[in-house]
Amino acid sequence: MVVARSGSKRTVAALDAAAFKAGARIGMPAAKVQAMISGLHLVDADPSGDASAIERLALWMLRQYTPVVAMDSPAGIVMDTEGADHLRGGELLMLTGLVNALTGRGLQARGAIADTWGAAHAIARTTRREAIIVPVGETARASINLPISSLRLPPDIISGLTVLGFHTVGELSATPRSPLTLRFGPEVGRRLDQMFGRVAEPIDPMRTADVIEVVRSFSEPIGAAETIAKYIGQLVVELCAALETRGQGVRRADLIIYRVDNTLQSLRAGTAKPVRDIPHLTKLLCSSIEKIDPGFGIEKLSLAATMIEPFEEKQSISSLVEETVVDVTPLLDSFGNRGQRMYRLAPVESDVPERNVGRVSPVSAKMDQAWPTRWPRPSRILKHPERIEVIALTPDHPPASMTWRGKRRRITRGDGPERVFGEWWVRSSEMEAVRDYYSVEDEDGNRFWVYRSGDGVDPATGTAKWFLHGIYG
């Protein structure tokens, strides 16, 4: 249990599940809890330590998820994920992935995505589910039943409202505004409007000292795509000059667009390798320019290099006979920013065909390994081997005929068996498993890769059923 001290008063600031079960609650006087529970382990609260830990977490999210991240004290982080979720496979995948990543590091986390900061703040703190997404436009319906304590109001206002009989946000928002304002000041109305999206609440993005940021403010708001592209070009030139003095290249660049109506949008461009190439960066940022909605005009553009890495200067070709090696990373960057998956396939040490091939990053070092087998392999492989009916001599003759997808084929030639043993170090159920692979050819010349589960003699090695696994060219 964590105890916070304010003056001479000691109150409970945080507790674990066991203490909660024993009856302790946040906000109780520490002495009372000590009297209730014996053998209590008390730890003094460290607000500055907590804050710096959350800040570190927020910086990690800034690099990983979205350009606009800010602290949402206490104990929270708010992010503007608009336009950033597709890179993580959509909102649900992004949020569950984030919560899982935090759980994996031993942190308890709950997340919510909603239209407004206020609603997301309240929902994340009041519901028990780990990840909740409120669909666009459903914020009002989702938040009427929330308790008023989730409204980000000072404690004395909350207790005053409770005395008056208000419990949920819905009750409060249905009450006439002016008596509330007379009694509690404008704060109640402002928080309600922020929750329902009637008042804009821009997130002030956090920046560290080492983030290189260039800003351009406009005396007249701009809106035309060509104008935006022109200023993006100028910002990129400035950013690259700043990077050059430090010998760094950019891995992730964030463009933040401040509009005159006090809302902001962001664009993110990622690269596979550190980059300091002005035309390339400009092209990456301008490729999604149609996603910018200028509204009534843009008053400020800010370009930040959120993730930087040392940039290696390379000498360009000096010899005339040397062949140019073309760097394909600009192309990969533009695919990546459109959300396409890119990979190379590389050998993996395994005899089981479906585990034999692994995906590696397209910019990873080339290993120059090869698959060890000399047996011909099919050019297309089925994701799930399909059951076939065969007539075959046991134990180790290729089939004489097979029926696949309702078509019976007479087999004229066959090769095999190639025996593949199960990998007990991967799954214990494969301890004795065996597959016998055959390549077979039917009368028309179609060639298939089929296997029998089991060695055909010992039932412990497999079910002796036949499957089709691949198609030869």
Partner: protein, 251 residues
């Protein structure tokens, strides 16, 4: 007309006009198969770089495109540089491509969720230049899209290969629709080369050159790609119009 070919000025002018039209195939800008009977049928003596080529599987292979994929792998294996392979259905088995001479380190796969994205990726890869070849597995290739791809390939000089594959064999009739591709091939499997012992010999294909710009249609019986991506002509190879054989492979 005949003696104008000897006049260097006229010849030079003619070449410049052809280059302006984008139809010129200059020497050294083709990828030859290394087999005279096939290369002779292709204008310029091989598959033109900076052009779009179309390859489809015949018969049941129209769905899987297994032989067509190997044929394409053999072609791109003989180019220089990285290969971009755009697809939406990831069912290629890389060891087989490696056996056809296409080393796995050279191939970058770009996987899209939607068919339309494959087309976009294909065009972007062709426009980039600097790649050895760009391959895309496409279901539909409308005339407009193929013309864009052909122009992109001409601009960058990269060879682009559209590997057509359909969801159902009946949809393969779509291959009859015209496209702007420079050559169109259909690869069907044939019974493998006979061996003196039981077993499967080298695979053989029927490669039909259905269309070649400024060339004639032809068909060849070829042996599948060897470890360096080279095909071979079958010993009893014939070319020409064999209607009976063609009809059977349509089925």
């Amino acid at each position: 007309m005949l003696n104008s070919a000897d006049n260097p000025t006229v010849a030079d002018l003619r070449e410049r006009i052809q280059r302006l039209q984008g139809t010129a195939v200059r020497k050294g800008e083709v990828l030859s198969f290394g087999l005279t009977p096939i290369d002779d049928r292709l204008p310029g003596g091989g598959l033109a770089f900076g052009a779009l080529h179309e390859v489809a599987g015949g018969g049941a292979d129209a769905v899987h495109g297994a032989a067509a994929a190997l044929f394409v792998a053999g072609i791109v294996a003989r180019t220089k540089g990285d290969i971009l392979w755009c697809l939406a259905r990831p069912d290629l088995f890389a060891p087989a491509l490696a056996q056809a001479g296409l080393h796995q380190d050279r191939v970058i796969y770009v996987e899209a969720d939607r068919e339309e994205d494959v087309l976009t990726n294909f065009e972007e890869g062709l426009r980039f230049g600097g790649l050895g070849a760009v391959v895309a597995e496409l279901v539909r290739l409308p005339m407009t899209a193929s013309r864009r791809l052909q122009l992109a390939a001409e601009a960058s000089g990269t060879i682009g290969i559209a590997l057509r594959r359909w969801r159902r064999p009946t949809e393969a009739a779509d291959f009859g629709q015209p496209t702007a591709a420079t050559t169109r091939w259909r690869i069907s499997v044939l019974p493998s080369e006979p061996l003196p012992v039981p077993g499967i010999g080298r695979a053989r294909w029927l490669a039909e050159l259905i269309r070649a710009r400024a060339g004639e249609a032809a068909e060849f019986e070829i042996g599948a790609c060897d470890a360096t991506g080279r095909i071979s002509l079958s010993p009893h190879a014939r070319d020409g119009q064999d209607q009976a054989r063609r009809a059977r492979n349509f089925g």
